[in-house]
């Protein structure tokens, strides 16, 4: 894929409409790299002038801060802010709710002021503006999709409707889980849990959540977060239901319906 970096654009004297913040999972996690590519394809198809930082990007520091390592968080944040401000970045879109939350809510205090939107909101916007053409909605038409709220999108930032609007644009049958929106159950990965084993208990959180998703009878679990993706995929595997239900990111669903996949 030919993805422009911000340094290339700047060298050519151009400024992008928006910076696509890929995030660590989007850059390194094999499963989520597919989401990154799907979203990039959508942006290209919608003729959005965007750029990425590429090798200049580094972790926002979210897991460090949530684990309690404020030094490390602020080191990461400060470095990122210097780069972002150096390029004069104004608007950022990201597919990771953790990056979204940190960039949007925690960078301003450290000198980074940007308009930050999550890819679910951006997709909704592009659909509403007619910049995304869903040519092949047959794949999901009338099919049951359940949406798993990411804590960092939902409760943390009040984004509940955009992801649902995106799913509805597919003419799909949105089946809510028992616990959804403000009462949605965490996948178990937030607060840096992604990077350690769970404490002793009688069940894994992602299993509890996967069972709830399976109970909806949906064929697809839609997610909008790389950590939720991992946790739900592992949950489905542990329940041996890979044939019955697929875990997909919103960007993948849209890319499929655009015939881009």
């Amino acid at each position: 894929m030919n993805i422009p970096t911000l340094s290339e654009l700047t060298a050519r004297g151009e400024t992008p409409e928006i910076l696509f913040w890929v995030g660590c999972a989007g850059s390194y996690d094999d499963r989520y790299k597919r989401v990154t590519r799907a979203f990039a394809k959508i942006l290209i198809a919608a003729e959005i002038k965007f750029a990425v930082l590429g090798p200049e990007e580094s972790c926002t520091g979210d897991p460090a801060r949530r684990a309690g390592n404020e030094f490390l968080f602020q080191m990461q944040a400060m470095n990122n802010i210097q780069i972002l401000n150096g390029y004069g970045v104004k608007k950022i879109v990201t597919a990771c709710p953790h990056c979204f939350n940190t960039l949007k809510n925690e960078y301003p205090e450290l000198g980074g002021h940007y308009e930050v939107i999550h890819h679910s909101e951006f997709l909704q916007q592009l659909i509403n503006e007619g910049r995304i053409k869903l040519t092949d909605t047959t794949a999901y038409k009338g099919k049951k999709i359940t949406y798993h709220d990411s804590c960092y999108l939902g409760r943390a930032n009040g984004v509940y409707e955009a992801p649902r609007a995106v799913i509805e644009a597919l003419d799909a049958d949105l089946a809510e889980m028992k616990r959804s929106k403000t009462r949605g159950l965490c996948c178990g990965a937030g607060g840096a849990q992604m990077f350690k084993d769970a404490e002793k208990g009688n069940k894994e959180i992602n299993i509890e959540r996967t069972e709830e998703a399976l109970n909806t009878g949906a064929q697809t679990i839609a997610v909008a977060c790389p950590f939720c993706m991992t946790m739900m995929t592992d949950g489905v595997k542990a329940k041996e239901k890979e044939q019955q239900i697929k875990v997909k990111d919103l960007a993948e669903l849209i890319a499929e319906a655009q015939g881009l996949a």
């Binding site: 993805i3 970096t5 684990a67 404020e70 350690k196 509890e208």
Partner: protein, 434 residues
Amino acid sequence: MIQQILFLLTLLGFAIILRKRIVQISRTIRLGRDVKIDGPTSRRFRNMLLVAFGQKKMFSRFIPAFFHFLIYIGFLVINIEALEFIIDGLAGTHRIFAPYLGGFYTVLMNVFEFLAVAVLVACVVFLIRRNVLKLPRFWSAEMTAWPRLDANIILITEIVLMLAILKMNAADQILQHREPQHYPSTGKLMFSSILIPVLEGYSTSFLIFVERFAWWFHIIGILAFAVYITYSKHLHIFMAFPNTWFARLQPAGYISNMPVVTREVKSMLGLPIEEPGTNEPPGRFGAKDVNDLPWTSLMAAYACTECGRCTSECPANITGKKLSPRKIMMDTRDRLEEVGRNLQNGGNGLDDGKSLLDHYITREEINACTSCNACVEACPVLINPLEIILELRRYVVMEESGAPASWNAMFQNLETNFAPWKFSAADRFNWAKD
């Protein structure tokens, strides 16, 4: 006259005890760290009005919200009657407002009685929910004998107080017929008049005794209750108001900044420091004990209703982990009360070889949190248990380097590869290649 003096002494006595409790509680709250309270006052006012006064968040669970609302309204309105009690008690009058308000007094008293009965019913329902239906959230691990007893004491006291009102009114109505010169007419009172046949056979002097006894019982009950709640989860009836006022206004996902760290990081990176450090000593990084927490978190501990809504939504708790956000709040308060007692015996209260972390809250608990904000969202009085958990984590990581090994590995990856995993920074853009 003797009654008046006795009443005045009773009132003073309770006022002194209550004042002592209030001083002690506010002293422990003020041990907390200073925090900047920013954001528009109008939003704070709105939160207090909707959430504390209007009980908005309670209504996400309708049944308890409905019955709780009855008790709440009953409490607010019946306390207006306590005003008459106090004036009567001091002036030696009897139902001082009755002659002035006439028919309206009858209406008022009937409203009070209706609410008294409503409160009574609600308390019975709550007793059943707790003790017969045994709703799980009232029986989880941190609901040890005392918190369970506390809840029952409150409910039973309220029932007894409401019965006292009804009995007093019943006796009063009989006396109004027998000695109208001393007992101004209240008009017919719907609920207490049901009790009239039970009392009618007794002599006037006995009824006077019954009326007086119920009167004293009720007013002493209210005063004793006021002292009792300072030791109880019932303190939320007052603390919910300041707590909703001071509740954080930022999006729930935001974690508070540590300006000390900002200054240090900036100087390490050679960046200009806009606000040079004030001369305050840096103190601890994060929180080991209650005095390291923001005072708002300490106030919140006194506002906690121990309802367990937080815990029942907590993904860690649901899946059997030790973490319970309610316990975080209860532990914080228990530690505060302990420090308060130490303070009262001289000394600064904190050097007793104990601390909130480890002696109350274990590392296993704080390590289980996913920072999902379900507890914050669930709390009917806008308490944020997550803030305390994160401050404790900060202490463990920054003062003790005591994070779980896999977190230390993650930190190391971040330092060397700028990603939480062991991948080379140079490969970051590889996703675009294939």
